[in-house]
């Protein structure tokens, strides 16, 4: 996964994102989630992806419940009841259609989150930022993000040093009342900000000294790298275009209910076609 070119990764995860919005068939949405999990496993980022995913699982349950309650349409009733709440009566029915819709919403949400998480975990931030810096009109914003990312470890280190210095002079951070602890942490702020301001001045000098802002047009190196046509990228784009065409013309991936499984035979080739390059060890 990590060896796959950036262009190919954008093609792969971009098209999976688009397909997860287009497809409504449960089997296809489940296939996208499984694909992403498999790619995370191949990229050895499963545990980190899981850490990102965990908070979304609780949110997914809420989405599931809201959809189930809000949408009670459908002819295939599984369960029906009347709830009495003081003087009012609320009719509730669980249908196959509402269950299907709720599951689809959850799977779509999870697949979109996974697409984003696996892409960012298997792509160096530097490459993403370089690409961003190369977009016309976004140069300064891209550099700002790159600098923020670059100086995060430095800032964290400064914070640790200041905390150590204060601890050694008797400030207690992890004991006592909450207000005292809050006060102790607040005392980190002044030296941290002052140090960061010093650093920002030195950084500005370094940027100026190397002619930043001089070229009226910086070379679009990031974009050319990102859009560098690779075999893998062309492959993913072709496969995605084929499935989008099938979705448009033949309704593949447009099922509504569990019961309608007419497109199930297409799911297996869908998974295999997407996994093939990474399983084969294609790097570009």
């Amino acid at each position: 996964m990590h060896r796959l070119g950036v262009g190919a990764k954008i093609a792969l995860f971009g098209s999976l994102g688009i397909l997860s919005l287009a497809f409504s068939d449960l089997a296809f949405l489940l296939a996208i989630v499984c694909l992403c999990l498999s790619l995370a496993h191949q990229g050895r980022v499963s545990s980190r992806a899981w850490a990102f995913l965990k908070p979304f699982l609780a949110f997914s349950l809420v989405v599931f419940a809201i959809n189930l309650i809000a949408n009670q349409n459908g002819d295939n009733v599984i369960y029906r009841t009347t709830l009495r709440f003081y003087w009012t009566r609320i009719n509730f029915q669980l249908t196959l259609e509402s269950l299907s819709l709720s599951l689809r919403m959850v799977l779509r949400l999870l697949s979109l989150v996974l697409v984003f998480v696996v892409f960012t975990l298997t792509t160096k931030p530097e490459i993403i930022l370089t690409g961003l810096s190369a977009i016309r009109g976004m140069e300064s914003f891209g550099l700002l993000l790159a600098l923020s990312y670059r100086f995060l470890p430095t800032l964290a280190l400064d914070g640790t040093r200041i905390k150590d210095s204060l601890q050694s002079r008797g400030i207690v951070f992890d004991e006592g009342k909450r207000i005292d602890r809050a006060r102790a942490y607040a005392s980190l702020g002044i030296p941290l900000v002052a140090n960061s301001l010093d650093r920002s001045l030195q950084l500005a000098e370094a940027l100026e000294s190397r002619g930043y802002g001089m070229a009226s047009r910086r070379p679009r190196r990031g974009i050319s790298r990102l859009l560098h046509p690779s075999l893998a990228a062309i492959y993913y784009l072709s496969v995605s275009s084929a499935f989008l065409a099938l979705w448009l013309l033949a309704g593949v991936g447009r099922a509504v209910l569990f019961t309608e499984a007419s497109h199930l035979p297409s799911v297996l080739p869908f998974i295999v076609l997407y996994l093939l390059p990474t399983m084969w060890g294609v790097s570009e």
């Binding site: 931030p125 530097e126 930022l129 370089t130 790159a146 600098l147 990312y149 670059r150 470890p153 430095t154 400064d158 040093r161 200041i162 150590d164 210095s165 601890q167 050694s168 002079r169 008797g170 400030i171 207690v172 004991e175 005392s187 002044i190 030296p191 002052a194 140090n195 010093d198 650093r199 030195q202 950084l203 500005a204 000098e205 370094a206 940027l207 100026e208 000294s209 190397r210 002619g211 930043y212 802002g213 001089m214 070229a215 009226s216 047009r217 910086r218 070379p219 679009r220 190196r221 050319s224």
Partner: protein
């Protein structure tokens, strides 16, 4: 190549000029050494060459600076950056991108070069600066020396002819510093014009072709580098040892036994450290950068916990002491004095820890006197010079009288007179107050002149503990490639 004609400059909001009436001519291919005490105007002079003064700083400038036929005042920093490459002190603050490759690309992109030309030039300079193997590494994974080398390579890749370096070795360990100076020697041989401001003059005298000394913003000496030793010996060599007979080192106050420490997910940073520090002595620990000095200091101050081994402070195991007891017993001053400064005045800063420990303000005047800070009590500590900040940081710790004072690189980035001043105060703490000092440094001049005993920390172990001369010999051998 570079011509200063009656140049004076005053920063906005200051009364006196940083440099005045500077006349200087630097020929193509010169290696000019700029020397002088802190605050003498070296950095300002250097910043005039690439136009940071006056374009970046504003202020009032008179006279003319001409670089390769270009008057810097009507020109701009961008245009001058194609001729003059500037390298600053702290590699951490001037490494602007997220990898060595993008750092080398950065300046060239600013010049508007084509992607193909940038790739070609970066590959060429990465090979000539021996950076090819770390091209895709982020700054957090390379050493300070490698960062500094990457920055020199990135300005060289812009096609500059002049390299201006403002104390580029001050934050590096001796090994990396020597490598940086060897790199400059090579670049000079290739025809680069080099202007270098440096505090550790003895190691660059033989490389430079000319030297100027600044004092209070004026050039007071301009001549052969060798002449510096005669005219400004105090800038070149530390004064003879000022150690005097104080109280004889007493019983051990710190005993470290079998100490092992590892950061999460990494190998042992320290493995089986055994060390004894006696009362009223100055024990120096020397090691290369990343050799575990700062880790050991943090463990001894109770800020990190070892996974094996024990530390005994005056016979009591460190773990059995409360945080308050430990703070009273062990004071630590970190490398960067700025991390100690967070009050508005020197008086508040120095009195803070003592007040925090409920000790009142009796005896604080002695501390101000001992550190020469009486006149600076009402000044903001962040406005002081590097040496003065260091004094405030040490005084703020000594205010509550710890028996063991740990100093982590207290002389880093300071000039020789400032270093000597700090170390004289440290010696007086030992001789007059009986304080025990653990000095962690790679400044061998300081170690030789002021230590009672020296321990060499190598690959997480103490490889030698004993007399300064023998320890320095062994350490120098370790630095050899």
């Amino acid at each position: 190549m570079i011509e200063f004609r009656k140049v004076s400059f005053r920063y906005g909001g200051t009364a006196s000029p940083a440099i005045s009436q500077i006349d200087l001519h630097v020929s193509r291919g010169d290696y000019l050494l700029v020397a002088g005490p802190s605050g003498s105007g070296k950095s300002t002079l250097l910043r005039c060459v690439n136009g940071l003064v006056p374009h970046f700083y504003g202020g009032e400038m008179s006279g003319t600076v001409v670089v390769d036929g270009i008057d810097t005042r009507p020109s701009d920093i961008g245009r001058l950056s194609q001729i003059v490459g500037m390298v600053f002190q702290d590699p951490e603050s001037q490494f602007v991108t997220t990898s060595v490759r993008s750092e080398m690309d950065f300046g060239q992109e600013n010049l508007g070069r084509s992607p193909e030309e940038i790739d070609r030039t970066t590959t060429y300079f990465a090979a000539s600066f021996d950076l090819a193997s770390i091209l895709d590494r982020p700054p957090s994974e390379i050493s300070g020396g490698e960062k500094q080398k990457a920055i020199v390579a990135s300005v060289a890749a812009m096609g500059t002819q002049v390299l201006v370096l403002d104390e580029p070795t001050s934050q590096l360990d001796p090994h990396s510093a020597l490598q940086m100076l060897a790199l400059l020697r090579d670049l000079h041989r290739q025809g680069y014009t080099i202007v270098l401001a440096e505090h550790r003059l003895s190691r660059v005298l033989k490389d430079a072709t000319r030297a100027v000394v600044l004092e209070s913003g004026r050039i007071v000496m301009d001549g052969e580098p060798g002449d510096l030793v005669k005219t400004h010996a105090d800038l070149v060599h530390l004064p003879q040892s000022t150690k005097k007979e104080g109280p004889r080192p007493g019983a051990p106050i710190v005993e470290v036994r079998g100490l092992c420490f590892a950061y999460p997910g990494q190998g042992d940073a320290l493995s089986g450290i055994d060390l004894t520090i006696r009362g009223a002595e100055l024990l120096s620990i020397i090691a290369r950068n990343g050799g575990g000095k700062s880790t050991l200091a943090r463990i001894m101050a109770g800020l990190l916990g070892p996974y094996r081994g024990s530390i005994y402070l005056e016979g009591k195991e460190q773990r059995s002491l409360s945080r308050a007891e430990l703070c009273r017993a062990v004071g630590i001053v970190f490398q960067d004095p700025n991390v100690h400064l967070f009050h508005d005045t020197v008086a508040e800063e120095v009195g803070f820890a003592r007040a925090n420990m409920g000790l009142g303000s009796v005896g604080l005047d002695d501390i101000f006197d001992a550190f020469g800070l009486t006149q600076l009590r009402d000044r903001n500590p962040r406005d002081l010079s590097g040496g003065q900040k260091e004094k405030v940081a040490i005084a703020s710790v000594m205010s509550y009288g710890p028996r063991l004072l740990i100093l982590d690189e207290p002389t880093r980035g300071l000039d020789l007179p400032e270093k000597a001043g700090i170390m004289r105060i440290v010696r007086s703490l030992i001789e007059d107050r009986g304080t025990t000092v653990l000095l962690l440094t790679h400044d061998l001049e300081i170690v030789g002149a002021f230590s009672d005993r020296v321990a060499v920390l190598s690959q997480g172990r103490i490889s030698y503990e004993g007399q300064p001369g023998e320890a320095m010999k062994r350490f120098s051998r370790e630095l050899e490639p």
